[in-house]
């Protein structure tokens, strides 16, 4: 028991550093994923046919291949065509574009489940198609996509662990270093697993509170009214 506590105290600073890196990668990638995923999702549903196909190909590419291969392509492959990225940048870009593909798909199915009458009523008021999408359809779709989006955020926290393979010192990267330094892989990985669980738990709490706050009064699931 003493040994375990000693070990925990020794590895704590590096694991906290690693946690910071993991959080940074997850947040930046999710944000990039949202910035890219939102227009991609909208374009998939409301864009011209050729655009829908192009965006569909992008989504298939990122959903259909292992994220590790995507990371290697970005980090080791892009320099061949003259784009050299730092480790962190490569992590942001890969996970961001990967997440964008998933976020776009969540948004797409949410957009499709907003009832058709909403668009018709908006157009009947004299809104243009894009005005209607922006002020009427998207606000409803974003709410519908929120549960799936929460899962994406949680998945992203765990996905980030692939970046240790390009030597980014995230939580997983630190774990690997510490495990060999102290010859205690089981203990270290157990501690790290607990770190991930806590991160996921906190993320989950934050997101469910956002979901609750964005809920539309009177609609199902709102037990209070």
């Amino acid at each position: 028991m003493r040994d375990a506590i000693d070990l925990l105290i020794k590895v704590m600073p590096e694991l906290l550093q690693g946690t910071g890196v993991t959080l940074q990668i997850a947040l930046v990638s999710l944000a990039l994923g949202m910035i890219v995923g939102l227009p991609v999702g909208v374009g998939r549903v409301y864009g011209p046919v050729w655009l829908r196909h192009v965006l569909g190909a992008y989504i298939t590419l990122f959903q259909g291949t292992p994220v590790l291969i995507q990371l290697f392509m970005v980090y080791y492959g892009l320099p061949d065509i003259g784009i050299t990225l730092g480790r962190l940048q490569a992590a942001f870009l890969t996970l961001g574009l990967n997440s964008a593909a998933y976020q776009a798909e969540y948004l797409r199915s949410a957009l499709l489940s907003v009832s058709e009458g909403q668009m018709v009523a908006a157009r009947a008021l004299g809104m243009s198609k894009w005005q209607a999408i922006w002020s009427i359809i998207l606000p409803q779709a974003v709410r519908l996509a929120l549960p799936a989006w929460s899962n994406e955020a949680v998945a992203m926290l765990k996905y980030t662990s692939v970046v240790f393979l390009i030597a980014v010192p995230d939580l997983m990267g630190q774990a690997k270093i510490l495990a060999s330094r102290y010859f205690a892989p089981i203990q270290i990985y157990l501690i790290v697993a607990v770190f991930y669980v806590v991160l996921v738990g906190i993320t989950y709490l934050i997101l469910t509170s956002i979901e609750r706050r964005m809920r539309i009064p009177g609609l199902t699931g709102d037990a209070a009214s």
Binding site: S115, G117, Q118, V120, A121, A122, R123, A124, L125, G126, M127, S128, Q131, S135, I136, P139, Q140, R143, I216, P217, G218, L219, S225
Partner: protein
């Protein structure tokens, strides 16, 4: 004689091979209330959606006041602003309160300032008797209240003509009265209206003219008295007898 507010000339509408409207002509005068009746599938909804260009006609022409709105190059969004539409299924924006539903068109389309829009929206909600429900969401309103909010939302755009597509058919019978009362009040204030409805009481009392459609054409039109008492066509007689029973 005043010039008509709406003139529909030989309008056709097809969906692929299916011909829904086969040459409809109709003229509506300012302040007139036209009730449009006909069997299911006769093209009533399609005609309304042609008028506000939600589904433009495949052939034929439509004038709104002095403008031919079916002419190429017409700004359709602008045209729709002048035509209010009320749907059977209400189609209120579910993420907005009653007030928000009325305000959004004022802010986004009429480009009014927020507080100006709020005042006008409140005024429109008062007109339909729902000022006290301004901050309720659609899911918290009864069907009749939803439809009255939908009417207020359309009125906010200051339409020159209002189209109603079976505004009471999705309502429980005890809720139709409040909606019909609002529509009757609108009519008495001089709003030009085309109403698809099989509410016979409303048609008798409020309509200036009843138009009977079947199979994508207007079979017969006339005052409620003519249409109910002495219709020319046997089809009209049979249909109206059926719905008055």
């Amino acid at each position: 004689m005043t010039s008509p507010i709406l003139r529909i000339e030989d309008v056709h509408k097809s969906y692929g091979a299916l011909q829904v409207l086969k040459g409809v002509s109709l003229t509506v005068q300012p302040r007139e209330v036209v009730v449009l009746v006909g069997p299911s599938g006769s093209g009533k909804s399609t005609l309304l959606r042609c008028i506000n260009l939600l589904n433009p006609p495949t052939k034929g022409r439509i004038w709104l006041e002095d403008q031919e709105i079916t002419a190429p190059g017409v700004n359709q969004d602008r045209v729709r602003q002048r035509i209010g539409m009320v749907f059977q299924e209400f189609n209120l924006f579910t993420h907005l309160t009653a007030l928000g539903n009325v305000m959004i068109g004022l802010v986004k389309v009429r480009k009014m300032r927020k507080n100006e829009a709020r005042d006008l929206a409140m005024f429109e909600l008062e007109r339909v008797g729902l000022a006290d429900r301004a901050h309720y969401y659609p899911a918290q309103l009864s069907g009749g209240q939803k439809q009255r909010v939908a009417i207020a939302r359309a009125l906010g755009m200051d339409p020159h003509i209002m189209l109603f597509d079976e505004p009471t058919s999705a309502l429980d019978p005890e809720l139709t009265g409040e909606v019909l009362a609002v529509m009757q009040k609108l009519a008495s204030e001089g709003m030009t209206m085309i109403v698809v409805s099989h509410e016979i009481g409303f048609a008798r009392q409020v309509a200036d003219r009843i138009v009977f459609m079947e199979g994508g054409v207007v079979v017969e039109e006339g005052t409620p008295q003519q249409m109910f008492e002495q219709p020319v066509h046997e089809r009209t007689r049979a249909f109206l007898r059926n719905i008055t029973r």
